[in-house]
């Protein structure tokens, strides 16, 4: 027994040989959960896992433990292409003053029914 811990790691601890090398973190995965049939998958969060199979299992543990889902997707975070946050202004420019983007902007031609 070491360190006063009664139920812990008193067994096969690794012999420490010199300073520990920094451990590479597991890759990041994005998790999408479909909460019920007919709905689409919604981004629920992210997690770390060593590979895809473990990512699905970890997602099940972290995001569906309380009956939240019927289907899970995990996607390597690196596979997601994002819009440039610095180009936000151009990318998501306000539609104000661009009424022509809406159908109601246009005058209905005479004689066209059911429009």
């Amino acid at each position: 027994m070491t360190g006063g811990s009664t139920t812990g790691d008193d067994g096969a601890t690794a012999p420490s040989s010199g300073p520990q090398e920094p451990r590479a973190a597991w890759p990041l995965w994005e998790v999408f959960v479909r909460s019920s049939r007919g709905l689409s998958h919604v981004h629920a969060g992210s997690l770390h896992a060593p590979d895809a199979e473990m990512a699905v299992r970890n997602a099940r543990d972290l995001y569906t433990r309380r009956n939240e889902g019927v289907s899970l997707w995990v996607v390597p975070a690196t596979a997601i292409i994002t819009s440039d946050p610095y180009a936000k202004d151009q990318f998501f420019e306000s539609p104000q003053g661009k009424d022509y983007r809406h159908a109601t902007y246009y005058t209905k031609s005479e004689g066209v029914k059911h429009l």
């Binding site: 009664t6 096969a12 473990m54 299992r57 433990r65």
Partner: protein, 274 residues
């Protein structure tokens, strides 16, 4: 309506049997059945206490959560089994968990073995999960309806524990040289405690169709172990079995420390709730 409201707060979805329901049963189990429930409940309780140590200490946060979830599942099984056992002697699950002495516990030596490193814990999980899965998947046919119902709920959860440990045995076994070394060491430290799981005690004869004969699980267990270890390119350790005796209340030096930590609060402050 109040029943509907109450069910919204239930942790268990659906109609799975809860310990609270078992406590209200009209029927009391026969003494042999209660003793048997104690075996299974104590295995789950001690394993849960061991696994709980990993919380905040696992190699990654995600694995921390996985081990904690497994521990919580085991506590759930322990609560059901101990509640049912206690019905025979008018004792509650808490009476049995917190106020029995070491020789009164009926858990096997395997579940009290130290966590060691992650690989050793996985080796223990691998054995326990495969054993419990074989056991519960047969106990669902028990002639005792309460044992059958507890097993029906538990087997689904243990199926996941089984999957979790198998995934890690495969990965550690075929990972790096270091992970493989640790997995081999973990398996050989765990294997002496395998034999005790399958020992038939006289109690088994008294159970009839209410229980599952431990020796009948050995063959399917070995086949399942063999399949996984072959895929991981690991070998079944060839080591002599330990003396065993857990079912008779004879334990290894570890259980006393586990119980000290598990029971101290309830004994220091009887009736405390938290």
């Amino acid at each position: 309506m109040s029943e509907a409201n109450a069910s919204a707060t239930r942790i268990t979805p659906g109609n799975a049997l809860r310990p609270e329901d078992i406590a209200l049963l009209d029927t009391k189990p026969a003494d042999a059945v209660a003793q048997y429930a104690l075996w299974l409940g104590d295995d789950a309780l001690i394993l849960a206490q061991r696994l709980g140590w990993w919380i905040s200490r696992a190699p990654e946060l995600e694995e921390d959560v996985a081990l904690a979830n497994i521990a919580l599942d085991q506590i759930g099984h322990a609560r059901s089994f101990l509640t049912y056992a206690g019905r025979a002697w008018d004792r509650t699950e808490d009476d049995l968990a917190y106020f029995r002495r070491e020789p009164e516990f009926r858990s096997v030596h395997l579940v009290e073995q130290p966590n060691g490193d992650f690989a050793r814990t996985i080796a223990r999980q691998f054995v326990v999960a495969l054993y419990q899965w074989e056991l519960y998947s047969r106990l669902v046919h028990s002639s005792d309806p309460t044992l059958a119902a507890i097993a029906a709920k538990a087997v689904k959860e243990v199926d996941y524990h089984r999957d979790h440990s198998i995934q890690w045995v495969l990965r550690l076994g075929q990972g790096t040289e270091e992970s493989r070394r640790r997995m081999v060491a973990g398996l050989s430290l765990t294997w002496p405690y395998v034999e005790e799981l399958f020992a038939d005690h006289p109690l088994v004869d008294e159970l009839g169709d209410a229980g599952v004969r431990p020796s009948s699980l050995r063959e399917p267990f070995d086949a399942a172990v063999q399949a996984v270890l072959a895929e991981a390119e690991l070998e079944v350790p060839q080591v002599p079995g330990s003396v065993g005796g857990g079912r008779l209340g004879r334990h290894s030096e570890h259980l006393g420390y586990i119980l000290a930590e598990l029971q101290v609060l309830a004994r220091e402050y009887p009736g405390a709730s938290w």
